[in-house]
């Protein structure tokens, strides 16, 4: 199988590391060779962050470059736009509709772009936009947006739901598992 590339993008602190762990666990259970690449440190402090997940029969480079991604999962709208150029033609974006103002917008040096979903669709991208934040709050915590998005993504991938549940069990601490199961279900049914 040709190597598939997924990017998980968002703002530092939004929980992309847990999302990539869940996804990596699912893919490993399916018998793929998997590589997941994260960046820790300074960019985690509210900067634009990206995690790469690649899988297939043989995966060499852990990173995804412009024009290489099959799917982008975004925790924030502006970040979906920022990383869209990494998609292949025919690629898909699953994004939360949450917006977080970056510092140039806060200081008034720039304004937050409008009409992002429409612009992405005009580029020929298959966009699924979900209010993951509200669903996460409904599940019990704004922090569960990442797992809501995993629920949305699970519908777009051809793996049995039990594999995702097993990955949740392995990646989420037991005391938060019920809340995260609820978040996952809300995303999956969104």
């Amino acid at each position: 199988m040709e190597t598939k590339s997924i990017m998980i993008v968002g703002v530092g602190g939004q929980g992309s590391l847990l999302a990539s762990r869940i996804l990596g666990n699912v893919l490993l259970q399916q018998g793929f060779e998997v590589k997941v690449s994260e960046v820790h440190g300074m960019s985690q402090r509210g900067g634009s962050v990206v995690t790469y997940v690649k899988y297939g029969d043989a995966v060499y480079s852990p990173v995804v470059e412009k024009g290489e991604a099959d799917v982008i999962i975004s925790f924030e709208l502006l970040e979906a736009a920022r990383w869209a150029s990494c998609l292949k033609k025919g690629g898909k974006i699953v994004t939360s509709t949450q917006t977080l103002d970056p510092m140039p917008v806060i200081t008034g040096a720039a304004s937050y772009p409008q009409g992002i979903v429409e612009n992405l669709e005009k580029m020929g991208i298959d966009v699924t936009a979900v209010d993951a934040l509200s669903l996460a709050e409904q599940a019990g915590s704004a922090k569960a947006s990442n797992v809501v998005l995993m629920g949305v993504v699970s519908k777009k991938m051809d793996f049995d739901e039990s594999v995702w549940q097993e990955a949740l069990n392995q990646c989420v601490p037991p005391k938060f598992i019920e809340m995260n199961r609820t978040a996952f279900a809300l995303g999956r049914n969104a």
Partner: protein, 575 residues
């Protein structure tokens, strides 16, 4: 089933399986998780040291005592530990000694992108370079074999994309290693000139033996795909090259990058019409090939700045360019920022307000240099804020000493700031130092340090009393202020700047991301009272923005620190 592991986690697994008993490190991205992971194994004693020099010296002592020992650091940390490393090369080891050094090409979280291979060459110590997680585990184990066989410390170099990428790893049981008996041997271990002269001869003989080992070592692999093009590579670059070029070329993948084999280079390239050297940062493999008279191309194609990747290699060597989609508008950048509720913010706001010249240091608070606070004048390396300020003030005297401060975190202060502060006291510069004590090593992801009262395993430990320490080294004026109380912090800064003697302000408030820190309810803006003066935006808080012409606080980010409330002249920001 194999387990997905970060390179760092796999590295720790390799140390564990190889019977490592002792680990001492200072945190540094991207090396930190090796030590955090090895601390989870009860069989291994693991600790955070105040800095990398202390860590390597402690690991060397553990090796003398007969244990397999370990220290980890980032690339710039090896500069701090270079002193013991270069002489440990002469003494050699008793139990095996492995030192991990993590480079950061592309500078994701570093102040420079130096290439650690230079340290291996200069200290005459062998260096291994894994290219994925399984190799991190295997090379950590092999490191101990080489260390004990050749009586030398072994450096293992990773980089961000190896350390922080996950791939599948096979786990095996631990092999317990008996302690090797310590035997007194001054001519080997006491490095005074008479003995060191003898040891240098041993080092040169060892290097010859290591070169012979490198010629046939299984980790220096040839992949012959029957091509006329040869690629010599190592580390993450191998993975990028393999993805870009597949089986169209032959590979010499070097798992050991110091010392380098001669005959293997010559034999591999003899069959090739074209030879490319693909390596990140400096042209170390390339210089070796060229010194052997091998015609090859490397840095003239790829340069020595930043990371490589498969797209760069495919473009440069195959002329392939990916078809790109572009978003139709220019988008605002999103640089990293201090978190909502960060205790450093109040300090930097105050320094910016009074246009103070700020000698900066390494940590989350380096973000005080960014807009809108713009409150840092220079940042060099760990501990440098205090010593740079001292030199600056000694030269400019009255022109600067009441308008300048150094800022340094608690962990960075214990790392190498303390000796700089001793210099301030001893040589009496009229300097004001602010210790930003957030009770944790922040940027690297919350590691304990000698001021926090806990050790690496989370158990209670002696805590440095910063006030008493500053007094003890001869600083008379030491005071503690709360950065959440702007008026108190402003008074402390202005008073300490005004006096004509060295002074220390300890800005004390734990990091807002620490689990034990209780957050207040988020604040909100009374839009009727908000006059849109944008005073609150000067804090650079990511939770505050303008919505429909009025200030607005994002309830998902705000932790209720109250600084913006103190700043608002119209009582528009409320609990």
């Amino acid at each position: 089933m194999k387990k997905l592991m970060l390179g760092n986690e796999a590295f720790a697994r390799g140390l564990y399986e190889a019977g490592c008993r002792f680990a001492s490190s200072y945190p540094g991205t991207p090396s930190t998780e090796i030590t955090e992971e090895i601390a989870k194994y009860d069989e291994v004693y693991a600790e955070w040291a105040p800095n990398e020099k202390v860590a390597v010296e402690s690991a060397l002592g553990a090796s003398f005592a007969g244990a397999r020992a370990f220290a980890a650091m980032k690339h710039v940390g090896l500069n701090v530990a270079a002193d013991p490393l270069y002489t440990a090369s002469y003494t050699g080891v008793n139990g095996g000694l492995v030192i991990a050094v993590a480079d950061d090409p592309g500078m994701h979280s570093s102040q420079n992108e130096q290439d650690s291979r230079h340290h291996a060459i200069a200290s005459k110590v062998p260096m291994l370079e894994p290219s994925d997680s399984q190799e991190c585990k295997e090379f950590a184990m092999l490191g101990y074999e080489i260390s004990e066989q050749f009586d030398t410390p072994v450096l293992i170099r990773t980089a961000t994309r190896v350390a922080h990428s996950q791939s599948a790893v096979e786990q095996l049981p631990r092999q317990e290693k008996e302690l090797k008996p310590y035997e007194k041997n001054p001519s080997k271990y006491v490095m005074m000139p008479a003995f060191a002269k003898g040891r240098h001869v041993v080092v040169e003989e060892r290097t010859k033996k290591l070169i012979a080992y490198a010629e046939t070592a299984p980790i220096n692999k040839v992949e012959d795909n029957g091509s006329e093009i040869g690629v010599i590579t190592c580390g993450a670059s191998y993975q990028y090259a393999k993805e870009a070029l597949g089986n169209q070329v032959n590979y010499l993948k070097l798992g050991m990058t110091n010392p380098l084999p001669d005959q293997l280079f010559l034999d591999f390239t003899a069959k090739c019409k074209i030879v490319y050297i693909i390596e990140e940062l400096d042209g170390i493999l390339e210089q070796h090939a060229k010194a052997l008279g091998i015609a090859c191309k490397g840095k003239e194609i790829f340069g020595c700045i930043g990371e490589l990747n498969q797209v760069i290699i495919a473009e440069k060597l195959l002329g392939k360019k990916p078809e790109l989609m572009t978003y139709p508008e220019e988008l605002p950048i999103r640089p990293p920022v201090m978190c909502a509720g960060c205790p450093h913010r109040g300090v930097f706001y105050t320094l910016a307000k009074h246009k103070i010249t700020v000698s900066g240091d390494i940590g989350c608070y380096t973000l005080g240099a960014a807009k809108p606070l713009n409150s840092m004048d220079w940042t060099i390396c760990m501990g440098s804020s205090v010593s740079c300020l001292h030199g600056f003030n000694k030269v400019l005297g009255e022109k600067s000493q009441n308008k300048t401060v150094a800022v340094i975190g608690d962990s960075t202060f214990m790392h190498t700031g303390l000796n700089s502060l001793v210099n301030v006291a001893y040589n009496a510069s009229n300097s004001t130092v602010i210790i930003l004590d957030n009770s944790i090593t922040g940027m690297t992801g919350h590691q304990q340090n000698p001021t926090t009262g806990k050790n690496l395993k989370g158990d209670p430990a002696a805590a440095v009393d910063l006030v008493a320490l500053c007094h003890a080294i001869g600083i008379q004026r030491v005071r503690v202020a709360d950065p959440y109380h702007l008026a108190e912090m402003e008074q402390a800064i202005l008073e300490e700047l005004a006096v004509d003697e060295p002074s220390v302000i300890i800005s004390r408030r734990p990091c807002a991301l620490l689990k034990y820190v209780k957050h207040n309810a988020p604040l909100h803006v009374d839009t009727d009272k908000c006059r849109s003066c944008k005073m609150c935006l000067k804090l650079g808080c990511p939770a505050i923005s303008m919505k429909d012409g009025k200030a607005c606080i994002d309830h998902t980010q705000c932790v209720g620190c109250g600084i913006c409330e103190e700043l608002c002249k119209f009582d528009a920001i409320q609990k």
